[in-house]
Symmetry: C2
Subunit: 112 residues, 2 copies
DNA sequence: ACAATACTTCACTATATGGTGAAGTATCAG
DNA sequence: CTGATACTTCACCATATAGTGAAGTATTGT
């Protein structure tokens, strides 16, 4: 299970690529500190399945887990998401530029 | 290789999770319309390997391929990246950094 | 002490992913 | 026509992923 030289951004995008994991993140956004079994309840998988997803999210730095007594409360960590946003943001210029071009094209078309 | 019931956003994040694919996107950002062999040249994999990555990027809607004669030129498609940004942007208020230009994109279901 | 609760780990399975070499299909050059 | 070029598909392999049931470890309730 050891992973050599996989970059943090790989792990982030990879963690976000699964709908179950995104649902976990969504729920944690509205309700902080949910327990592992709280998270499992609405999902159609068993606890060991969820555990693996939580491991992936932890490895990506997207969640933190703190155990108090026998229950674990899970919380969001937004750092990796900011990094992912930053990566995608490199392309922002590209789609605003193409939008500008589209506008220019439409205006040109109007003139004819 | 047919994938049933995988949502577009899954495919987008999944496509972005690989460093080779991100490098392809980066190169296409600066140089548009590169050919398949242009893209392959600096990479340490064989053409069939690159073909699979290009298939993944196409399936995710991140690139388009147009064949003229025997060469294929590849171009970026930014729509899915905007959707990924929109998804991540739901968390923006949690980290309280204003990425003001994205405000218009917030209107989005989670893509499930 | 004993049992229930809340995870956690283990062993296993099925499928997906990322790579290869070899062979196939057009297209272009001479 | 012949051969080179530019992909494309095929068959195969190793590893990773996502799930399961069963068993294990603390912690809490009676």
């Amino acid at each position: 299970m050891v992973k050599y030289q996989i970059s943090p951004i790989d792990r982030t995008f990879s963690a976000l690529a699964d709908p179950t994991r995104r649902e976990v993140l969504m729920r944690l956004k509205s309700e902080r500190g949910l327990s592992v079994s709280d998270l499992a309840r609405p999902l159609s998988l068993k606890l060991p399945g969820l555990m693996k997803h939580l491991d992936v999210l932890s490895d990506a730095g997207l969640i933190t887990r703190t155990k108090t007594g026998r229950t674990v409360s899970v919380n969001l960590s937004t750092g990796p998401m900011q990094d992912a946003m930053a990566w995608l943001n490199q392309y922002e210029r590209l789609w605003t530029v193409s939008l500008d071009r589209l506008v220019a094209l439409v205006e040109e078309d109007d003139g004819q």
